[in-house]
Symmetry: C2
Subunit: 332 residues, 2 copies
Amino acid sequence: MKELNVGVLGATGAVGQEMLKILAERNFPVKSLRPLASARSAGKMIRFKGEDVPIAEAREDAFKGLDLVLGAAENDIAQRFAPHIQEAGAVFVDNSSAFRLREDVPLIVPEINPEDAKWHKGIIANPNCTTIVTLVAVAPLAKVSPIETMIASSYQAVSGAGVAGMRELEEEIEAGLKGEPYAPKAFAHPIAYNVIPQIGSEQYLGYTSEEMKMQNEGRKILHLPDMQVSCTCVRVPVLRSHSVSVVLRTREKITVDQARALIAAAPGCKLVDDLTNKVYPMPLDTSDQDLVFVGRIREDLTSDRGLNLWCCGDQIRKGAATNAVQIAELLL
Amino acid sequence: MKELNVGVLGATGAVGQEMLKILAERNFPVKSLRPLASARSAGKMIRFKGEDVPIAEAREDAFKGLDLVLGAAENDIAQRFAPHIQEAGAVFVDNSSAFRLREDVPLIVPEINPEDAKWHKGIIANPNCTTIVTLVAVAPLAKVSPIETMIASSYQAVSGAGVAGMRELEEEIEAGLKGEPYAPKAFAHPIAYNVIPQIGSEQYLGYTSEEMKMQNEGRKILHLPDMQVSCTCVRVPVLRSHSVSVVLRTREKITVDQARALIAAAPGCKLVDDLTNKVYPMPLDTSDQDLVFVGRIREDLTSDRGLNLWCCGDQIRKGAATNAVQIAELLL
């Protein structure tokens, strides 16, 4: 198998570090690894497959000789370096939202639309984490009958705000136990013992940018340009797995038994659905692994073509790093 | 004003203790107070208006001379004592779910259907906490145009499992910080850093008893016998305020501006809706007070007669104790 020279842009963040872990775990054919980060981290060492690899500064000329760059940085960084990554001849698999809706950029969940990798022009986008978790759960149903509408409420882990988000929840809880004040930095409000019904900034008719991603990215990934999605994204005091409560309506009726069978057979999904025995997906059980757990499947009581379900998946892994490495695997 | 001899059944629980606090706070005309609890607590003292009042054992003959009994006990206790409360000539305002759907028992949220108190026959039921919080938010809209369907996902505080639930979250977090194991008792699964998508037991087509309450109790309170509700109830690591993400469809379209004006003017509601400035209802801000905060009001993107909103209210107060005392005030 061909071996690639691989760069990871934003290698010191939560997603970047997980990408290194997953490249090793999945035995991705890495000829050489080039971790890239800000000047602050340049020169430090980072572990990869038991060896210390020096971190290089992310600069415009830092991509020469690379075949593949996995992007784990913010939009502005991704936008700044994308032309230079392309100039260097590397394929850019980017986790930021900067390119996701561009017509010349495929947006891929490998279990759902791997064929879209074929028409890439140097950039492939990795979808939003909550969108990935939800779509892995509902795509097996959409393949049988198109999804017309979806109403989703999310329960999103603090890892969505990176290492800083996870540290903040832990520090805030410890400060509370000591009776000390704590000023939130990663989030706009306290997250310990609280939930915050805003993720992202105001974007469209009172919906946030995060909430609109499920409709906009979902349409592109599922090839359902008319799918309508009303989403409410909420941060909860959970460390790293996102959960989503979904009510979807398909063009034709899908029964609960059909849905269970479809999800049980679908790649990337694990059916975890036995309410009688208190068995259903939960964040603690779905952290640090790659499957999306799906349960609480039942008929929507407000429609004769609706289904209600609950899904959970690790935001850093399947919601970001694993999905990006899976996309890279499509390119081999 | 007439003064009443008041009993509180289950006076030592989270809701019972809050009832005592609220009777005092609202200056309810209490001639005498009789706190009732299990034999284990009998004889102990409980504070009311700065005085120590002895707890009496809840027995069949314990209700003589009372005019009003506020029930804060489980269904089996409520059912066992209801006939004896009625025999004693007292009105029973009960917070359990035992009598809520009985045709001869009014089910009341005083801001919504106070007129139903008129036809009581000795028992008035206090609705489920999540149902109260949600209905206070949506009733102002339902008065303008009937709600046809409602899809709700809840974010419910551990106080719903009483004092034991609150203690469990705190103990579990402390055990985690010390690296000690912790065996959940109040909940079926760990709740620290987790969310649990089951409240109540399996009841109907895969929905739990808690989830069906919003439809069954909602229909009765709003006088909308055909309203269809799909609900997903989820426990989150929050101490005492419940939040609900709601998408409702009305018979006629209600605009976002109309909805905001209706909610701002409605009794029991506080409009807290300014996403631009990161202002919306949150559990920490709504605990230990009586209003239901409503925000994130926007058009449902899946329907032309739908609205999306987010509401929070204190589960122990407006969700239970305050609502019960407000019902008692209707009887004066």
